[in-house]
């Protein structure tokens, strides 16, 4: 468990730094890949609700600190995203091939809506058309492309926990 926490913290820290320094500079119609979100979805899918929520909270704090944004905004959104995807992984999603792609696609869309609502509540003058019409489609495509290598890496790092039901071969 401690090894998992260390690995999760390391992976998400690197993802957050790469996100704020490099990937945020990619701008295709205001859309950019969100490595932190994709990494969080992959980790939460493999490790469940509590791990996902805690990882989302920590990753959000790093992003908000590095970018000097309102502390807690990204944490709130990523905590909910991590918990929700963790729940999906624990119940039905974990072993399905399409699960990471469906999760990333749904979370990317909901994250954009959630962020828009939260920014409106905080009084930011965000342009809904820019966020939802211009940026979202490209962000969705970028995130789905990123899902393949990121989920493969996370699967190597976080081996699925034993289910308790092991296959046995009867002899004789």
């Amino acid at each position: 468990m401690i090894a998992d926490i260390a690995k999760g913290a390391g992976v998400l820290f690197v993802a957050a730094i790469v996100q704020v320094t490099l990937l945020s500079q990619i701008d295709v119609f205001h859309g950019a890949p969100d490595l932190v979100l994709v990494t969080l979805v992959s980790v939460a899918l493999l490790r469940g609700t509590i791990f996902g929520a805690a990882a989302g909270f920590g990753a959000g704090l790093v992003v908000d600190t590095a970018t000097l944004q309102t502390l807690g905004v990204t944490s709130l959104l990523l905590t909910i995203a991590g918990y929700w995807i963790g729940r999906y992984g624990e119940t039905t999603g974990r072993d399905r091939t399409h699960a990471p792609f469906v999760s990333v696609a749904v979370v990317t869309v909901l994250y954009s809506f959630g962020a828009l609502v939260l920014h409106y509540m905080l009084g930011d003058t965000a342009s809904a058309s820019r966020v939802l019409l211009n940026a979202l489609p490209f962000e969705l495509i970028f995130n789905l492309i990123l899902t393949v290598p990121v989920y493969a890496l996370c699967r190597r790092l976080f081996r699925p926990p034993p289910s308790g039901l092991e296959e046995v071969q009867l002899l004789g």
């Binding site: 730094i17 790469v18 996100q19 704020v20 320094t21 490099l22 990937l23 945020s24 500079q25 701008d27 205001h30 859309g31 950019a32 969100d34 932190v36 609700t49 509590i50 929520a53 805690a54 989302g56 909270f57 959000g60 704090l61 790093v62 992003v63 908000d64 600190t65 590095a66 970018t67 000097l68 944004q69 309102t70 502390l71 807690g72 905004v73 944490s75 709130l76 905590t79 909910i80 991590g82 918990y83 962020a115 828009l116 920014h119 905080l122 930011d124 003058t125 965000a126 342009s127 820019r130 966020v131 211009n134 940026a135």
Partner: protein, 268 residues
């Protein structure tokens, strides 16, 4: 567990939002940003050669057509420079004769701090960047930020070794500006529109807009006068609206921005 973290996040947002910029959470964030700065600088340095290489090859695509256009511009600006030099010398002479006292002017009354851009918020909500210099370099909130191309924006938040710069194209940024040719005043919002320009004033397509740098009743603009901002791309008006509709194109290319200068007044 998840519920506690959600409540904790909401608590953080509430406290951060309500406290002053010198409050406890801001101080913690500033300390955290100082800790993260070496990682951001390292990531930036590792990626810089690759970005430069991409920029080089991307630039080659338009190099030929740009070269022809720039040669035409050079001839035009060379003539303009000669006229400007003559006008400047005449201006100095006239100011001396009138014993005219100038207000704080750019760039003579300012020193500057050069800084690399080390990170950007990962959402489309903010047009803001984080630079690798903060209060330790003498930077304060609302200091103007420029490049050799023109106005970039203003310092929005200052930490010890980093600062958050709200770009000219951020929705929250407003700059009082004037048309260089016609002296029509107005306010540039979000880096794309030149608002509050009266219908009786003249603004023409192609005109340059610079910071106005006003001073009134002890209050003054945070920007010194004369910093180039952009060029008017479209102008129009209708019978309903009180003001003209003026669109502009900023001189600074915000997509390729990698370093900036923060202007610091010599006398605060």
């Amino acid at each position: 567990m998840a519920g506690v973290l959600v409540l904790l996040s909401i608590g953080l947002i509430t406290i951060y939002f309500r406290e002053s910029s010198g409050g406890g959470l801001h101080q913690v964030q500033s300390a955290g940003a100082t800790v993260l700065r070496p990682f951001e600088v390292a990531a930036d340095r590792v990626s810089r050669p690759f970005r430069d290489a991409y920029g080089y090859f991307a630039g080659l695509i338009h190099a030929k057509s740009q070269n022809a256009q720039l040669r035409r511009d050079l001839d035009k600006w060379r003539q303009q420079a000669t006229l400007n030099a003559f006008a400047a010398s005449q201006n100095t002479e006239l100011l001396k004769k009138l014993h005219f006292v100038n207000s704080r002017s750019f760039p003579r009354s300012y020193t500057y701090v050069g800084a690399d851009i080390i990170s950007q918020p990962p959402t489309a909500f903010e047009q803001q960047v984080v630079i690798a210099a903060g209060s330790a370099s003498g930077i304060q909130k609302f200091d103007p930020v420029v490049t050799d191309e023109g106005l970039v924006g203003t310092v929005a938040t200052v930490a010890h070794n980093t600062s958050l710069v709200a770009l000219l194209v951020d929705d929250t940024t407003s700059v009082s500006a004037i048309d260089v040719k016609t002296r029509a005043p107005g306010i540039i919002k979000g880096g794309s529109t030149f608002d509050h320009v009266g219908k009786d004033l003249r603004v023409n397509k192609g005109d340059w807009l610079v910071t106005a740098g006003w001073k009134s009743n002890g209050l003054s603009s945070i920007y010194p006068p004369g910093i180039p901002i952009g060029q008017v791309t479209a102008e129009g008006q209708n019978e309903v609206d009180l003001y003209k509709h003026v669109q502009l194109q900023p001189f600074v290319n915000f997509k390729t921005l990698s370093s900036v200068l923060v202007l610091i007044p010599k006398k605060r």
